[in-house]
Symmetry: C2
Subunit: 382 residues, 2 copies
């Protein structure tokens, strides 16, 4: 990697149509595994003007009223009024759900991975969350957008919104915010001047870190289209699994392509990505590397990964062979081992479905714990 | 990056449900821009048992019969018989399409980007296509799976299928295939032995490169679940934009998260990703670097990128400043400039929607041309 460069990451609010779809899929997943933790769930959502359509493969002993869950999520997100573009009470709800294919179930029942695929986990010591700075700042902005709306600090803010932050790196470290883009859906009765001032004073300035943010030199693009009244599923069709870079590391490091939301933990797309983050984060927390990326890959129906790659981008403090050995010794990598170690058979997924699956401090985010750092450090001889 | 490691990439056939969704979205896009090349199209598809549902935002002067296009794509892909799980003639087709939001159109009409976002392009000289080896091999397998089906070489092969290839790198170069995973949907009247032999002899062996593939040492997982009769949208719900790593570089390099299929070229998710590949490929073709990754980022409604990053992963042959200057001089980066340079206002997208958008030699893939290599080399003083 270069030493000096600009890097850009983005985030979206919980009212962004793709993110509503993710929250619906994970809301349904949570409701089902709350009743039957061994359920198999693959639940996909598409949202457009006036319609929420949910399809997928679900095998469970649970009974849940899916339309109610869908309406609840849309209500929590804030689309409660047709004049805002979408109304949780009157939108049409369609479902087309069938059981998991018996052919797939066969491979999973025996403890094998629920699909083939590649998954990555990443960590870097450039922030206290051990996440890349640009995505941390982008999420901070979208969270704040939702906050000023819900607390009525800016009463004209509506649920859909996006942020994007360009950070300047020098010698591989973030030193300065270069550009901030914020777009928020708004009521029709507010001027562009009011929007710009409100977003600057109530959203951006209070939360951008002093050391990186100089309001006079940062380039700001606030609602650059000039109008954003039509929003949510009316402005843009939303689908589950279409914000996978917002969900992860904002473009730092690689991605295997698998989405998370709506998938029970026998799906390695989700569980192995969580484990890969847990491994990478613990290695960095142990001080064994400044950055770390872990790739895991699986064959469907097979329990052990077909490949494991630990890459520190040349920042390791002990030999790479040593790291490989520590990883193989301390971290389970079969679907069953991962599910047990990270306690994934619990209804904890809906809250992952907005503002990122990683870098979070809520106790349910077991994959964020650095409880292996001490033993790793000791065994590495540091 | 480490010097010695295993890296895994995957591909899927044109009969994979997510890929059928991509082809439907791009089939509709092509039909529309064939009639009106200035159309705005954002077209999303979801497929499950018996249903194809298309939603999105389309503003156009064209008239196309969307259900016919949907049925045509499903037919071409091979789902022509209910006993295979999906039938192009009798499946239900639902559409929910409305115009592009006037608020967005405003920003795009003036030449601005159709959305914010980050996009990456990548190239490496490890293959003649200037693509990473694992994804090249994975696509070769899925293409061959479709071929043995269509040419009736293996009459029991059905449209849905996946491949995955793990490649061993030494000193940063691919030296050996370590593991191959192939799963193909099949008719119920074939034994696992026949499947294994057929896939080995007619799919894998004829097309894996002699220098990398030693059949005795490679680990093969062929239909590891043991049964894959239920396939296509019946086995797994398919959505547009859910194979974005298969579409690009197989996990080598970064991804910005935006999908391609169904999007007209005013959407930078697509057009700027194509330009980023074109830049990276031309720099590598010129011999200015062994590997190259380009990140572009945009603000909605704004024409110029908010950031441009050229990263050679320390393989540059001339100074990085020099590369930056050459890139800014020779490559247009506004939506309009990209569309013109790469001639993107043409109905060329459906064929991009299976087997990768990059590393292709068909003439329509203008972003794969290395027509800038000579002048870049000269101006770099090489
Ligand atoms: C620009 S839309 C994607 C393109 C869209 N499907 C189309 O047909 O043009 C992507 C996201 O941008 C945001 N957005 C929608 N309308 C906008 C506007 N008028 N100005 C800025 N951002 C907007 C929403 O968060 C939306 O989900
Ligand atoms: C395993 S499915 C994803 C999980 C699925 N949604 C579920 O509910 O279990 C992903 C892909 O694997 C392939 N597939 C489907 N059935 C399979 C089987 N029985 N054996 C191997 N691969 C299969 C198809 O290409 C399918 O699109």
């Amino acid at each position: 990697m270069r030493n000096n460069y600009l890097f850009t990451s983005e985030s979206v609010t919980e009212g962004h149509p793709d993110k509503i779809a993710d929250q619906i899929s994970d809301g349904i997943l949570d409701a089902i595994i709350a009743q039957d933790k061994f359920s198999r769930v693959a639940c996909e959502t598409i949202l457009t003007t006036g319609i929420a359509f949910v399809a997928g493969e679900i095998s469970t002993k649970a009974y849940v009223e899916i339309p109610d869950i869908i309406r609840d999520v849309i209500k929590d997100v804030g689309y409660t009024d047709a004049s805002w573009g979408f109304d949780c009470n009157t939108c049409s709800v369609l479902t087309a759900i069938h059981q998991q294919s018996g052919d797939i179930a066969m491979g999973v029942d025996s403890g094998g991975a629920g699909d083939q695929g590649l998954m990555f986990g990443y960590a870097t010591n450039e922030t206290s969350e051990l996440m890349p700075m640009p995505i941390v700042l982008a999420h901070r902005l979208t969270r704040r957008l939702a906050e000023v709306r819900k607390k009525n600090i800016l009463p004209w803010v509506r649920p859909d919104g996006k942020s994007q932050v360009t950070v300047e790196y020098r010698n591989g470290k973030p030193v300065r915010i270069d550009t901030i883009v914020v777009s928020t859906q708004h009521s029709p009765d507010v001027t562009n001047k009011q929007i710009e001032r409100g977003i600057m004073e109530k959203v951006i300035k209070p939360i951008m870190p002093k050391g990186l943010y100089d309001p006079t030199s940062v380039k700001h693009h606030i609602n650059p289209t000039g109008r954003f009244v039509v929003g949510g599923p009316m402005g843009d069709t939303g689908l589950t699994g279409r914000k996978i870079i917002v969900d992860t590391y904002g473009g730092h490091g690689s991605h295997g392509g698998g989405a998370f939301s709506g998938k029970d933990p026998t799906k390695v797309d989700r569980s192995a990505s969580y484990m890969a983050r847990y491994i990478a984060k613990n290695l960095v927390a142990a001080g064994l590397a400044d950055k770390c990326e872990v790739q895991l890959a699986y064959a469907i129906g097979v329990a052990d990964p077909v490949s494991v790659l630990v890459d520190t981008k040349n920042t390791e403090k002990v030999s790479v062979d040593n790291l490989d050995k520590l990883v193989r010794k301390h971290f389970p990598m079969t679907p069953r081992g991962i599910i047990e170690h990270l306690k994934l058979r619990r209804p904890i997924f809906r809250k992952t479905a907005a503002y990122g699956h990683f870098g979070r401090s809520e106790p349910e985010f077991t994959w964020e714990k650095t409880d292996k750092a001490k033993v790793l450090r000791k065994e590495a001889g540091l």
